[in-house]
Amino acid sequence: MSDVAHRSRQFALPHWATLPVILGGFIVGAWIVIGFTVPFWAPYDPTMLAGMRFLPPGAEHWLGTDALGRDVFTRTLYGVRHSLPIAAAVIVCAVVIGCTLGAIAGFVGGLVDEAIMRLVDVTLSFPPILLAMAVTAALGPGLGNAAIAMVIVWWPIYARLMRAQVLAVREREHVEAAIASGARPSRVLFKHILPLCWSPIIVNATMDFGQVILLAASLSFIGLGAVPPTPEWGQMISDGALHFYRWWIAAGPGLAILTIVLGFNFLGDGLRDLLDPRSK
């Protein structure tokens, strides 16, 4: 979308503000605002009876009511208060654990490197959802356990990324100069190598955000994540599948997942376009 980028430059927007980035940022930003403010303006309580059961969408209930007479619109809005914090926690934990181990593997090398990277290989040998399902089934259903499972699924990706970065940066001349001038290894790592390793990690984390939200909802849909009456999107869609002919029960949470994941994918796509000229 370089014509868009080109046009936006005429309006003196910064070069990263392409249409996908602006659109993605707007969607994600809107959901974040909803997440923080919804208790102050939501029309109903997300877990309490709000009207008759199975009311179709109308003026009173914009997205109808579910099997227990709860307002689907309200529950959909509240859903973001589960999905976003969980996704953020999973990404942060995976990045911290993965980058620490990856940096150690790349910087120390030898047996430590071997041990860490073989662990990474084995973990990445599983299809993500199967591993997440097996871990959650072992720990017991629940959003917290599903989050732990997703960290276990995601950390190796960052370990691999960070190790490759450290290995590449380690060969640069300024690092050699630092070592030659007698800097301690920890100083070399923290001051001279790590600061140059972050940009691909940040882009990857942005793109993974949407995927984590999808996987978390999938686990809840299967019945391994959130437990009722939590207004969680995957759980609500599983409810909607039970009452298939009342289509509106699943419509709200489905659209919610679609928009927020789309938002993160727009952001990630835009960032990748900026960094990878091949995809232009």
Partner: protein, 342 residues
């Protein structure tokens, strides 16, 4: 190159052993007692029944002992017995494998056809409206949760319009075809059953489209990038100078060469298809490995969970290996020595 392939092949059994070990350990460090799902909650207070069940399922032995027995049995193709179905897990999986394969292959065809078409359109109209629309369509595919889009298409095309049948592998009034390959679309043809074939095919359309849509984006992005690469080369200019038509250049000259790198992405999209198959099968009551995995996980059926996880891991490992080798063979610029150490 040979050294790289050899090294990857040697690593395979080790990785597989790692997968088996992790899967085994996972299902044994569980918070819930598997006995509950074997004998039911009521009998848990009956010490005699608990003891007997423990001995019957080998749960009274130490963990390393159980692990060694499990490994030994695996070598003979024995995955243990499912707590729920009381059938050998290997048999359960074998019966369900063709259903999953049929769905995944059909989805792969849908994803490839649409992905290539969108990729070609996007490259032809680079950075213009059709390009942006194609990218948007593909992006939607990787953003929509399949367990919801499945419900939506079922509601629209099956309930409202009545164009396509509801969930299941074959029409409810038909009987399953005699087992030859396990693919209903092929088996009905073998049996010469046209009505059955039409029914099996119609049943396949919705789940395969929903699942295929999820990988359309991956394929079209790859096709677009390699088409743009190829279209910039001199022999395309030569073909234009010779007066070749627009379509002939796109399909005859460019797409052929752009397809090579695209083939490798198909292996990569397999990961997405496995994820999607688990959820799609659940929505469409498709009797494959995915829906088996879901009921196993819900019912704390440990032998079944380990079995599915190992089979999924093995399939994943093999596809990744084939993809990497194909990639290296297709693109000599890839320095595979460097990839192997990564």
């Amino acid at each position: 190159m040979l050294a790289y392939i050899a090294r990857r092949l040697i690593a395979m059994p080790l990785l597989l052993l790692g997968v088996i070990t992790v899967a085994f350990l996972l299902s044994h460090f569980t918070s819930a007692d598997p006995l509950t799902s074997i004998i039911g909650e009521r009998q848990m207070n009956n010490p005699a029944v608990v003891e007997a069940a423990r001995a019957r399922w080998g749960l009274d032995r130490s963990l390393p002992e159980q692990y060694l027995v499990y490994l030994k049995n695996l070598l003979t193709g024995d995955f243990g017995t499912s707590f729920r179905t009381r059938q050998p897990v290997a048999q359960d999986l074998l019966v369900r494998l063709p259903a999953t394969l049929e769905l995944v292959i059909a989805a792969m065809i849908v994803g490839t056809v649409f992905g290539v078409a969108l990729g070609v359109i996007a490259a032809r109209f680079q950075n213009r409206t059709p390009d942006n629309l194609a990218r948007l369509f593909a992006l939607f595919g990787s953003s929509v949760p399949v367990f919801w889009s499945g419900l939506v298409v079922l509601f629209i095309f099956s309930v409202q319009l009545g164009w396509l049948p509801g969930p299941g592998r074959i029409g409810s009034r038909m009987s399953a075809p005699e087992l030859v390959t396990g693919f209903y679309t092929i088996d009905t043809l073998v049996a010469g059953d046209w009505a059955g074939f039409r029914s099996a095919l119609a049943q396949l359309v919705l789940p395969a489209s929903v699942l295929g849509w999820t990988v359309t984006g991956i394929v079209s992005r790859m096709v677009r990038a390699s088409m743009l690469d190829v279209l910039g080369q001199e022999y395309i200019l030569a073909a234009r100078a010779k007066g070749a038509g627009q379509l002939r250049i796109l399909f005859h000259h460019a797409l052929r060469n752009a397809m090579l790198p695209t083939l490798t992405i198909l292996g990569f999209s397999f990961a997405y298809l496995i994820t999607g198959a688990i959820l799609t099968e659940t929505i469409f009551s498709w009797p494959g490995i995915g829906s088996y995995a879901v009921s196993a996980a819900r019912g704390l059926d440990h032998p079944a969970i380990i079995g599915v996880t190992i089979v999924g891991g093995a399939a994943f490992l093999i596809t990744n290996l084939l993809t990497d080798i194909a990639y290296a063979l297709v693109d000599p610029r890839v320095k595979i020595g460097a990839r192997a150490t990564a």
